[in-house]
Amino acid sequence: MDKLKSTISNDFHSSKMSESDFKVLSEFIYKEYGIKMPPSKKILLESRLQKRLKANHIDTFKEYCEYVFSEKGNETEIVHMIDVVSTNKTDFFRELAHFEYMNEVLLPSFTSQNSNEIKIWSSACSSGEEPYTIAMVMSEYNLQHSPINFHILGTDISSAVLHKAENAIYAEDRIKEIPHSILRKYFLKSKDLTKPTVRVVSEIRKKVAFCRLNLMADNYPISESFDIIFCRNVLIYFDRITQEKVIGKLCEKLKPNGTFFLGHSESLLGMDLPLKNIKPTIFKKI
């Protein structure tokens, strides 16, 4: 009985985060990863980090803070902490500013240079929302300008998500934020009302090729070079040395003057890379 009580109490036990521990963690998460953690998010942070305490067999947030900032924690725990803290959503039209920049600056510059072909790589494409969004942006642009032929490659380390990407079937709640004009043109609703899903139309699906790729691999089996590379919300999974290595390798596949998009909470600060910052999270290859 006592054993059972203790198991139950352990399962329901959750550590409390002091104000000063919150201050340290929130300051760190914001300054290093750009994820804002105002005091109103204390409960959210406290609850999300409970599983990290449990995974590390740590009882208090004080000990957890000490661990995160220790040499071992620096190497292994920060990635998990940021993973838990960031929402990791891969919505359509996520971080809209990048697609606006494509539409308003990049594509017109292609048109003015009479370029009629563009190659784009979504390097950590997950279940396909990003490359399909890019294809929709390109199609919309082509409706109003002299068309640019486009090729999009989507890669990810996980075969399971790539399978989902190829199928291009999504739950209806994933498309809530998409404007109606886009929805009508590029998504088909399922007939089964009990399972409301949508599927990206074949005209968009066939513009994207998917293949499995581990960004940490020594060699990328991709022979072509790209005009635009998206590498968003993936760096948080790597330590800084690996981040620099991965971005350096992606840059080798970026054409001179090509554009590199980074996630809103990521930074290339202090890294030695052939990239010039144009706008926040937008870079040009130099």
Binding site: S20, D21, E27, K31, E66, F69, G270
Partner: protein
Amino acid sequence: MELLKWTDDYSVGIVIIDYQHKRLVMLINKLYDSMLEGKTMESITEIFEGLEDYIKNHFETEESFFKEFNYEDMKTHIKEHKVFVDQISQLKKDYLSGKNTVSVELLDFLKNWLSEHILGSDKKYISCFKENGVI
């Protein structure tokens, strides 16, 4: 090669501040390496700007703690930060206008400032931070 080597003497015993100080040491060493390797002006400028940004970030962290805990030496410390930020900004302007190169003197200035500031002014706030429960 390392211009500045982190040792435990530099530790203020506040985890987030030590983390940021270590990053500053790393960035100063990176600037030093890029100079030794004869990197392009563009590349050095980017590292310089990265260092400048991180210094500002770090000062903001310290200052937000000062304000929260109403640290008694806050005014003097923030003034030191301001003087340093102005100096860095001037050094960057000089570098960009070609008046100055990233020289050993400049790096010595950064190195000395960081060591003296950590070992002097920063160590003074340890007790205040600890009293307020910061680890």
